[in-house]
């Protein structure tokens, strides 16, 4: 196991370098650069040229990339082009918000998805199963920006139960438990929007896996022993059915982080997603690069985590 982990970690290094090279290339292929969005008749062309020169934007692309890589190796993510903020600092500032949101959505997805999947499987071809199937298709297909706006309209504007956006009540200066409640109120809608597609996927996955297990001999044996339905389904059935679901654990992490880009934008959530969108519009290369690197690391750890958990949950799997 240890050997396997070390091997996987070593493998990830060339993959990460590959990803950064591709991100860098794609970003440079997009027309425009950060300085060109600052067009201003009062600033002379020479002055603009000099600013670009100082930023190293006139160096050749391989030189720019290697410079970036060298700095990253020393833990320096660089500075934003226009405002000189430390990119590492920016990400550290934004990271907690994103982790809170995706974490809540993650818990929500499994806490809701798994029970619904079990319910759906045990009521196969009955009305609840059909209803849940339809809901899960809606959940997968509904665009998150639309769903988000619909939720804001209903729960924030019409019913007034929850706030429209943001992470905390501005200017309220809550602390302790009140702050926690305030946070819960703010996170509910965006977490639902973010979690919905994953809930649907987890539910469908649990359902099919559960159905497969329920058809097996040992379930019939358990059933005929006279065990209660609950014990048969949950103890014998679900435990075995959950093994493939664990894969979804790891795979949903990148999905949630990707979804956070749009969800954060709609709900004005101060996380990395909204930072990412702003940076792309402003062509803030250092921020885009850092965000991409960061997300790739997350995705790769998610995959690794899934593999490790797989072995842990199913002793038959050995690496």
């Amino acid at each position: 196991m240890k050997k396997y982990l070390i091997k996987r970690l070593l493998q990830s290094i060339p993959i990460l370098i590959g990803i950064t090279i591709m991100t860098f290339a794609i970003m440079q292929l997009a027309p425009g650069n950060p300085m060109q969005t600052m067009i201003d008749p009062k600033i002379s062309a020479e002055e603009m040229q000099r600013a670009q020169e100082n930023l190293g934007m006139n160096d050749s692309l391989p030189v720019q990339y290697v410079t970036w890589l060298k700095e990253i190796a020393q833990g320096n993510f660089g500075y934003t082009v226009k405002t000189g903020q430390s990119v590492g600092g920016l990400i550290v500032e934004r990271l907690p918000a994103t982790l809170l949101l995706t974490g809540t959505a993650f818990i929500m997805a499994f806490a809701i998805g798994v029970p619904l999947g079990v319910y759906s499987a045990t009521h196969r071809y009955k009305l609840p199963d059909y209803v849940l199937t339809v809901i899960s298709f809606v959940g997968i297909s509904i665009p998150s920006f639309f769903f988000g706006l619909a939720l804001i309209f209903i729960f924030a504007l019409k019913l007034g139960w929850l706030p429209t956006s943001g992470m905390i009540t501005v200017g309220a200066d809550y602390s302790g438990f009140q702050l926690f409640v305030d946070y819960l109120k703010h996170v509910t809608l965006p977490a639902i929007v973010l979690a919905l597609p994953t809930i649907a996927v987890v539910m469908r996955f649990t359902r099919s896996s559960m159905l497969e297990v329920l058809n097996q001999d040992f379930i019939r044996t358990a059933d005929s022993k006279g065990l209660s339905k609950k014990v048969v389904y949950l103890k014998h059935g679900l435990r075995n059915a959950l093994i493939p679901v664990i894969t979804i654990f790891g795979l949903s992490i990148p999905f949630l982080f990707g979804g956070a880009y749009i969800t954060e934008h709609i709900f004005n959530w101060p996380g990395m997603g909204s930072l990412g969108i702003q940076s792309i519009v402003a062509r803030e290369y250092p921020v885009i690069m850092a965000l991409n690197l960061f997300t790739s690391i997350l995705v790769m750890s998610g995959n690794l985590l899934a593999d490790v958990m797989y072995a842990w949950a199913d002793p038959r799997i050995r690496y």
């Binding site: 997009a30 009062k42 405002t83 918000a97 706030p163 305030d182 004005n268």
Partner: protein, 558 residues
């Protein structure tokens, strides 16, 4: 335990949530009761983009200056006609030859941290802009001064043209009389005691960009990244002290911010023109418009064989029904523009050639230019169809819709038009093209045909110089349309040294006269920006100087 226990926990959480909700409601009620008695209160205003930094000398954008105008003061500020009046300056005198400006500063002004403001701060700010390491876009303000260039190149220890006479007097000397000089002084004065040990090249990284100390009517309190900036009233302000206690600026997507107005978390928010009907019916809020000094226009690449001919541009202008663009897209939030200088500014000439909507005239002009309709009904000259691509930057819905109408209007007279949507940075790469090794180069006929954009005056009409002067064609400036006219060049240079206001105005009117005759840009419309404002806010009257420019006179009532 089991099921019952679980339900119990859920129930507990629910009750807690409900009590928490109701207790906050009580708190809100209590605080509103207070504001009935006390002058003060808080206004929350929404912006659609967050400032990059709060140092007025580093690449200032509108989202930056909307905040920095409140925290910092400038020597001079524009009045409603964009003429300059004193702010930190009590008064100023200009010498006979128009080269020496002596500013008398206000007495007893203090920085937010208690330090005294003096002429040294002013000298520090403007000297730093010419520092060799400074490269954040404000050098042009001091460029006219004697010795600024020498200081920048490291040949001088200080700028000869900046002289501190005493604590409240400072003298600027320019190389030549330069009319736009005073308007260039409209930039927040920075605290010397905070920044003196930091090289201007390192300013961008300094912490004061995110927690600024100014002299302005509002003090900075805190900045929650991605969420809001909080300011409080500077009760010791030397000018009109703010009526509010606190001002909160929130940032977010237009729709989200609009929803926050509806939930009453935000008092003031910009509204997209297309959304105005949805807020018009609110009984607790009103729509207020902010006028602007910008004109939306279509520009042509004169390197292209078609657009080199003024008759073609005039013909296209006559084919545009501006009235219908304004009524169908902008409604009451826009008006027709016949001048590329904004109609509310003194540079706007009352007497210009007008290209009224007249398609017969268009066809006549095209035929005079040697075009004939081919079998498909498209005009062509020497076998070249009059067809072109118009670049349409995304981001402003009204501009995108106008482009579609323009296409239809031009196709009606027999011109083939294609539209291409792109984001602004991409458009810039076409207007200011680069060679493969990253150097800026001249525009060629292949870079683009035509584009639609907005342009306006920020502080002085001199800003048009680098768009129309023949020496400012890329890579030396922003004359990407490739306009070249000796008379306009002379006028544009002459107005910079003309100190007499009326004479200078006449020179600029002459420029606009010639530009309108040549119709190098087709002006389309001017657009106003609607804001939705909760009726509890009084005194919100934004104008082109900035949404928060007069925030000190805002107040709240219940």
């Amino acid at each position: 335990m089991g099921k019952k226990g679980f339900v119990g926990i859920i129930f507990l959480i629910f009750t807690l949530l409900l009590t928490a909700c109701s207790s906050t409601n009580n708190a809100e009620k209590a605080s509103t009761a207070e504001t009935e008695e006390v002058v003060g209160g808080t206004v929350t205003i929404a912006f659609n983009s967050e400032p990059g930094n709060l140092n007025p000398a580093i690449w200032a954008t509108t989202s930056d200056t909307d905040i920095t105008h409140m925290v910092f003061d400038s020597l001079v500020v524009p009045d409603q006609e964009l003429k300059m009046e004193g702010r930190l300056a009590e008064s100023w005198e200009v010498s006979e030859d128009g080269k020496i400006y002596t500013f008398k500063l206000k007495d007893g002004v203090t920085w937010h941290d208690g330090e005294a403001f003096t002429a040294d701060d002013v000298a520090f700010t403007f000297t730093s802009l010419a520092d060799g390491a400074y490269d954040s876009g404000a050098y042009w303000r001091v460029d006219p001064l004697v010795g600024a260039a020498e200081y920048k190149e490291g040949k001088a220890k200080s700028i000869e043209g900046i002289e501190v006479v005493d604590d409240t007097t400072i003298k600027f000397t320019t190389k030549e009389p330069f009319a736009p000089f005073v308007s260039g002084l409209f930039i927040g004065i920075l605290p010397e005691h905070v920044l003196k040990d930091v090289s201007p090249g390192e300013w961008a990284k300094h912490e004061s960009n995110r927690s600024p100390i100014g002299t302005g009517p509002f003090k900075f309190v805190k900045w929650e990244t991605g969420q809001y900036i909080e300011l409080e009233a500077n009760k010791d302000y030397f000018g009109e002290t703010p009526k509010l206690d606190r001002l909160i600026a929130r940032f977010g997507d237009a729709n989200t911010m609009l929803a926050s107005v509806l939930s009453k978390d935000v008092d003031i928010s910009p509204v997209p023109v297309s959304e105005t009907p949805s807020v018009e019916s609110l009984d607790y809020a009103s729509l207020v418009t902010q006028n602007s000094l910008s004109v939306y226009y279509v520009g042509f690449n004169t390197k292209s064989a078609h657009f080199d001919d003024p008759k073609v541009r005039q013909a296209l202008a006559h084919a545009v029904d501006k009235e219908s663009i304004v009524t169908s897209i902008l409604g009451e939030y826009g008006n027709i523009a016949d001048d590329i200088f904004p109609s509310k500014h003194w540079s706007h000439s009352p007497d210009l050639p007008i290209y009224d909507f007249d398609t017969a005239k268009s066809e006549q002009l095209l035929e005079e230019a040697g075009y004939e309709k081919n079998s498909e009904g498209i005009y062509e000259r020497d076998g070249n169809e009059l067809s072109f691509m118009m670049e349409v930057p995304t981001g402003t819905k009204e501009r995108e819709k106008s482009a579609v109408l323009l296409k239809q209007m031009w196709e009606k007279i027999g011109v083939k038009v294609e539209l291409r949507s792109l984001d602004f940075p991409t458009l810039v790469t076409k207007l200011l093209p680069k060679t493969d090794d990253g150097k800026q180069r001249e525009v060629t006929k292949d870079d683009y045909d035509a584009y639609i954009l907005g342009f306006g005056i920020e502080v002085d009409p001199d800003e048009y110089r680098s768009y129309f002067g023949s020496e400012y064609m890329p890579p030396n400036g922003y004359n990407f349309v490739g306009y070249s006219d000796q008379k306009v060049d002379e006028l544009l240079e002459a107005q910079t040294t003309e100190i007499d206001f009326d004479k200078r105005q006449q020179l600029i009117w002459d420029v606009s006269q010639k530009l309108a005759e040549d119709e190098i840009w087709i002006p389309l419309y001017e657009q106003e920006s609607p804001f939705v404002v909760n009726n509890r806010v009084n005194g919100f009257e934004p104008d082109f100087r900035g949404v928060t420019f007069s925030a000190e006179s805002w107040s709240v009532s219940e």
